[in-house]
């Protein structure tokens, strides 16, 4: 992002306008109607409060959304992130329980995530399956694999290191928030300080032209899917750490939807091309605020998906060129009459 200058950052600002506006609107709503929403207090050198909660829980979605952003920017999509998160969490917990050291367990979870992502990438680039179809396979089978690892049980473990990932704090902020910041920073540096970002955007914007310019489109896609798998693995570790257990059946449930939604909210088009990592993180936080607001308005966690779905629909419609075309036609017809 920093290598951009002038009007380019202006245009990325324009893309961020919608999520920013929605964010401010939700915050304003909560300021008016949710007492204590903005209260933050310090206990034992750690911040507590609703906003901190949102940051904490939004981090998991945000991390996956960063990986998903890269995949969507290449013109693809990854439906398997929830299942991959479940696999990573199950593997880590299983290794801890069977006596491995926490670093080994954590590394194994992450490596499994990368492998799962690379598998998706191979199906997309080598077999040329459509991304939805290719990632559907792991979406179906992944949860089964996770349950295979946990033997169908909920594995509870006792490991301060692993527990710290989801529950610890650093510099007053919950550890997941710090991890989100690190993932965002690393991805942003890799994307913008090397040619990865440029290549990803080229492949997503015009694959044929990118190929004619010599862009290694398959390698770029493979990298994007592998990164997405890594992010999903990390999210799986956070979730498994947060509840101090691996629940293969429910871990990462509907994570794919939240992540895709965050990316779309953040201004990255589902058709690929230009992407915004910051936007996706904002989108993730927006989703979390929306969820929290619904809870605080006494909407049950089960019903909450419905209003979220309406938000998705509205955002998609606002992003749809077809709708804009129709509106433009309407205006011009009226002007003509």
């Amino acid at each position: 992002m920093s290598t951009r200058s002038g009007s380019s950052s202006a245009s990325s600002l324009r893309r961020l306008a919608l999520p920013m506006a929605a964010l401010l609107l939700l915050l304003l709503f909560n300021f008016l109607f949710t007492p204590g929403f903005f209260a933050v207090e310090v206990r034992d050198g750690r911040l507590y409060g609703t906003l901190i909660d949102i940051l904490n829980h939004g981090s998991k979605i945000g991390i996956v959304a960063i990986g998903m952003t890269l995949v969507i920017a290449t013109g693809g999509v990854d439906l398997s992130v929830g299942a991959v998160a479940a696999i990573a969490g199950a593997a880590a917990a299983h290794l801890i329980v069977s006596g491995s050291s926490p670093p080994v367990a954590i590394a194994s979870g992450l490596i499994l995530g990368v492998l799962a992502g690379a598998w998706n990438g191979i199906l997309v680039t080598m077999l040329r399956l459509q991304p939805i179809v290719a990632t559907l396979i792991l979406m179906v089978a992944g949860r089964g694999i996770a349950q295979l690892i946990t033997n169908g049980l909920i594995i509870t473990y006792d490991s301060p290191t692993l527990t710290f990932i989801g529950n610890g704090s650093l510099g007053g902020l919950p550890f997941p928030v710090m991890m989100l910041a690190v993932v965002l920073a690393i991805t942003a540096i890799l994307a913008r300080r090397t040619a990865i970002g440029l290549f990803v955007e080229c492949v997503g914007d015009n694959a044929a032209a990118a190929r004619m310019s010599g862009v290694p489109d398959r390698a770029v896609k493979l990298l994007a899917y592998a990164s997405c798998g890594l992010c999903a693995g990390l999210a799986g570790l956070i979730e498994c750490s947060y509840i101090r257990a691996a629940d293969a059946n429910n871990a990462g449930m509907l994570l794919e939807l939240d992540a895709i939604l965050a990316v779309v909210l953040g201004g990255t088009a589902l058709t690929g091309g230009r992407f915004s990592l910051i936007g996706s993180v904002l989108g993730a936080m927006l989703i979390q605020i929306l969820t929290k607001t619904l809870y605080m308005q006494n909407v049950s966690a089960d019903i909450a998906p419905a209003p979220k779905a309406l938000v998705v629909l509205v955002v998609c419609l606002l992003h749809s060129p077809a709708l804009r075309q129709r509106l433009a036609n309407l205006v011009s017809r009226r002007a003509g009459a």
């Binding site: 002038g6 009007s7 914007d205 010599g214």
Partner: protein, 563 residues
Amino acid sequence: MGDQAPRAAHPTDSRMSADAPLLAVRGLQKRFGAVRALAGVDLTVLHGQIHVLLGENGAGKSTLIKCLGGVHWPDGGSVALEGRPIAPASPRDAERIGISTVFQEINLIPHMSLAENISLGREPTGPLGRIRWHEVRRRAEVALARLGLRVGVGSDLSSCSIAIRQLVAIARALDVSAKLLILDEPTSSLDRGEVAQLMGVMRRLRADGLGIIFITHFLDQVYEIADRITILRDGALVGEYDPASLPRTRLVSLMIGREYSPPIATPTPTPTLTTAPTTATTTTPSSTNGETAETVAEPSIAVAHARNLGRRGSVEGINIQIDKGQTVGLAGLLGSGRSETARLFFGADRATEGSLEIDGTPVRLRSPRQAIRRRIAMTAEDRRSEGIIPNLSVRENILLALQVHRGLARPIPSAEASRLVHDFVRSLNIKTPSSEAPVSSLSGGNQQKALLARWLATDPHLLILDEPTRGIDVGAKAEIERLIGTLRERGMAVLLVGSDLEEVVRICRRVIVLRDRRQVAELHGGRCNEREIMAAIAEHTPSHIAVGSTPQPPLAGDSGGSR
């Protein structure tokens, strides 16, 4: 197309008489945004007539037939069928009126049977809307028999050859009792026998009183079958002609828009007004456009040398040698294989026969990436789909190929990048509000210059330009032409595909002429002029056409002449 209001019929043109022409198009106009695709075109087709529609890229042929077929709605002018004004609102509507079109890309459903493709959407149905399949099959058999085709109507379309698909498409078009059949380049991917079969079908239909509009790029076919010829150029009517009294060379010059005078038998070429050199390639320095730079540095190794290069079903027999500092032109009509040839040199299509040497090393290019590694660069003919990355900035578009060269991990330092972009924007005079503006917001000419900048930044040894001046304004054309001159001076080899012959001879010292997807002549020195090129294209072979140093390219001989 669906967003315009239906246009009113023209009641003025309602004379109904028995001898009214089958189709009478008068003053047809159509605009796409700022582009005028049709500027008042006339076309008259009679019953039982095969009417060939000719024109180069952008002449307006496809717009015209799409207006007739209900795909586009014209902005002005009138269309009458058998004296009655018509305004087809959709392909289906046009079919109902009696106009059926078979488009070049054959619009049929691949995984359905031949029979079903013929009646899809209008299948005969019985009780409860059940399709009567035996009737569908019977109708298909009758329709295909009419075309002289005996095949199992139950086989999958996708398992049939292009020729059979073409005939099935025609059968579908005829299934609705068409009066006018429009065939858009039906022969472009057929072999000789299949073409003959199609011609037979067309004659049979003509005998039945059908009117046929036939678009083709093969002049042999024009003279074999046309009753009348209408030529379009730049969206305007050039004229309607009788093939019997229209010599080939004249026809080519009418299409291309250059006056043609018969070749003079003397070997001394007539100097044209352009700066085309008057002598053989490597000799005389000319003061005009930097020929001095063509000092023969290392005559031994060619930058690129193709021997009998070809690709099955695409082009064959390409023999081209391009040396340092040379600009070689590829000329031919649309569909002659000129772009296909250029793509072989870049690995955009894979060659299946012959050999290619780059800088003295034999290579098999399997992808543009490999070509780029060998320092070959190419701007594709279709700027929008294979050139620009539309939503990325001018800056990113310019830096892309250089970045590919440097690899993923070595980004161009931002200061250097800015300097490069700034230099290219200035030296190529790319008109953009800022280097950060999306490239799609630029005009066509400036997009093309940005693409040239993309490749020049990699300092290629061979630059392939496929119609670099197509669809751009005069000023940008002149600038690109000047740029090519400068590159030549710097020793870059350039392969230029061009449809504007005047431009080709102005820029190139040597021109390869293609016809019917094979190389038919190599002209250089004094022979490298429009007249000779047109003669080669028109297959009117003057005795003295220079054949290059390469192995004998097939001459006019086996391409059939005026059978």
